[in-house]
């Protein structure tokens, strides 16, 4: 400690990697730094992170980046192969496929964000409440979770959308409704490991309410494994949403949703393959990005789950 006269010149690295943090914030930042160093070594995970960041940037700057308007039809230039004017070709209405993909990133990101903001949260609440209270609350909640886990997710999502009517909002609702159970299981398992810990008893002795303990002490501890699982699941969410779009149950035309774009290119696939191929590449790359990122995060945040 004494050797470090000027913290700035000694460098942030020392401050972050010290074994004796001076404050809670320093300890947290140090942990994050250690995680980041481990994460950075996994080149595939970094690639995944870059893909996800690219998705966010493309979605944010879609109108700036897209060379054409996504709905601008040009019937004289239908089904053109990739060229200098249309890098990825044009579709059956002469719309620029690249521009539609760029705008479609917004839809994909929106679906991912909405599902990620709802299903894991619902699972977190159910799982922590069941784990914390135990007894009949646990039995009832986990029985329901187990029952829901045994359902065929994709088919139920299809049935939900069929009932609610096609559309991107209903697709998101259907996906979220069918994907909460695994999160509840994870959150409960994490809660059980800490429920009897001394610091929980200490908080209870100080008079903290159950709500306060669950919100302030238990939920934060479940977050790491939930983030890993959510990230990995997002790849599946993208694929499911695209599948719904492909079947005509998700986003409706003329929205540039990638799955729906594949469906509309399907009839031309033998002659004008790019119409269906390009959106598929987009889905694949983004989905791979989430998979790589989730896989890397799992190594850093959840080493047990090797």
């Amino acid at each position: 400690m004494t050797a470090r006269t000027d913290p700035r010149s000694a460098g942030w690295r020392d401050w972050l990697t010290t074994d004796t943090p001076q404050s809670r914030a320093q300890a947290r930042l140090g942990r994050a730094w250690a995680g980041w160093t481990a994460f950075r070594r996994n080149r595939l995970a970094v690639a995944g992170l870059l893909i996800v960041l690219a998705l966010v940037i493309v979605a944010a700057l879609a109108p700036v980046l897209a060379p054409y308007h996504p709905y601008a039809q040009d019937l004289n230039n239908r089904l053109l192969p990739p060229s200098a004017a249309h890098w990825l070709g044009t579709d059956a209405f002469g719309r620029d496929i690249l521009s539609r993909l760029i705008h479609g990133a917004r839809l994909t990101l929106m679906i991912v964000a909405l599902v990620a903001a709802t299903a894991p949260l619902a699972g977190l609440v159910i799982g922590t409440v069941a784990g914390y209270f135990g007894g009949w609350v646990d039995t009832v909640l986990m029985r329901i979770t187990d029952i829901a886990l045994a359902f065929p997710k994709l088919i139920l999502a299809l049935a939900f959308v069929a009932a609610l009517g096609p559309g991107i909002e209903n697709a998101v609702i259907a996906i979220a409704i069918t994907s909460w159970p695994p999160y509840a299981r994870i959150a409960r398992a994490e809660t059980l490991t800490v429920r009897r810990a001394d610091f929980i008893s200490a908080a209870r002795l100080q008079g903290a309410s159950s709500l306060r303990i669950i919100l302030g002490h238990i939920m934060p501890l479940c977050v790491a494994s939930l983030i890993v699982r959510t990230t990995l699941d997002m790849a599946g969410v993208i694929l499911t949403a695209a599948g719904l779009g492909f079947l005509g149950l998700g986003a409706q035309p003329p929205l540039p949703e990638w799955g729906a774009m594949i469906a509309s290119g399907r009839q031309y696939v033998l002659e004008q393959w790019w119409v269906a191929a390009m959106p598929g590449f987009a889905i694949f790359i983004v989905s791979l990005g989430f998979n790589l990122l989730g896989d890397g995060l799992r190594d850093v945040l959840d080493p047990k789950g090797d």
Binding site: I147, V161, G236
Partner: protein
């Protein structure tokens, strides 16, 4: 009597799960913004016949009574009538299900035959390049939209290379030439002694089942790797090595035997997943199975057919879960 008690618990769980599934399909059926009375009578029904039909359909009863009625109907095999085919849904589903069964079964065999060795290989080479390569391939497999992969595979192997026949279960001129005994074309062709049709059906089966199977390879390989790593750390593995056994026999004879039971569970679960995943594959390959039936019904808002199909897939799901549980108890000497 612990066996009896366990058996009862299992039975209650299965019954509760089935009931939960029925509740979900029932509720989905209620939120549909389609008036079932009007769809039964047509738009021009007068008020009197409307009320009559409403009573007949039980729609004036409280919701819980309607649910009981629904459970009773389903228990008697009454899933309603399909608007699209004008036939009882159960009849339709039983007719199309063998095609899905055939597809998913071949797919799960492909998944297990590729996935288990890949997982073992990755575990044995943990941290070295084969492990990383298999992991990356698995992640790639999990990132490909299956319907798109199917389309691209058709484009490449059917249209460009002409290695496989196109969509459908057999070539058009073979269709209906063998009696549907089991409903599984390959088996029916063999039963009828029609080897030409059998080979034609096999060629039609290769691409869709390979695409569907690839989807489970990654999952099976990943689980196998994890199980295998757990086992390779165990002391009995050292014992086998001390005996002077070759590494091949240590891995495949000793370690694999210990993961056989959990692996069967994993394979049963991915089988269930494939039955479900066949929805999109069947659409792309015009495979006349349950998946195609459900999607066609979806597009024409034929809710009886959709919910009936969902119920059947769900029941098969639950049955496979139950089966893997029973196998676990039967096969593991420690659980007996």
């Amino acid at each position: 009597m612990p066996t009896l008690k366990r058996g009862l618990t299992l039975l209650v769980t299965v019954a509760a799960t089935l009931l939960g599934l029925l509740l979900v399909t029932f509720l989905i059926g209620r939120v549909v913004p389609i008036d079932p009375v009007l769809s039964a009578l047509g738009d021009r029904a007068n008020a009197e016949s409307y009320a009559q039909m409403r009573t007949q359909l039980g729609l004036d009863l409280p919701l819980w009574q309607q649910f009981l009625r629904y459970v009773g109907d389903v228990a008697q095999g009454d899933l309603g009538t399909s608007v699209l085919t004008s036939r009882p849904v159960l009849e339709d589903v039983l007719r199309v299900f063998p095609a899905t069964l055939e597809l998913a079964t071949v797919a799960v065999v492909i998944g297990a035959v590729l996935g288990v060795p890949a997982g073992v290989f990755a575990a044995v080479n943990r941290g070295r390049w084969p492990d990383h390569a298999i992991r990356l391939l698995g992640l790639i497999g999990h990132s490909l939209p299956i319907f798109w992969l199917g389309l691209m595979a058709l484009l490449l192997f059917y249209a460009k290379l002409d290695w496989v026949p196109g969509p459908g279960r057999v070539d058009v001129f073979y269709e209906g030439m063998v009696d549907a005994v089991t409903g599984i074309v390959t088996v029916d062709a063999l039963l009828a002694g029609e080897t030409d049709i059998f080979w034609n059906a096999v060629q039609h089966l290769v691409l869709p089942s390979a695409i569907l199977g690839l989807y489970s390879v990654a999952y099976i390989a990943r689980m196998t790797r994890g199980f295998m790593l757990d086992q390779l750390r165990q002391e009995y593995i050292t014992t086998a090595r001390v005996k002077g056994m070759s590494e091949t026999r240590v891995v495949w004879g000793h370690a694999l035997r210990n993961i056989a039971v959990p692996l069967i569970t994993v394979i049963a679960l991915s089988y269930a997943g494939l039955l479900e995943g066949s929805v999109l594959t069947e659409t792309v390959f015009a495979w006349p199975g349950l998946g195609l039936y459900i999607t066609n019904s979806l597009l024409s808002a034929d809710m009886n057919a959709v919910l009936g199909g969902t119920l059947v897939v769900g029941a098969v799901f639950i049955a496979l879960n139950l089966l893997s549980d029973l196998l676990y108890r039967l096969l593991d000497p420690r659980a007996r």
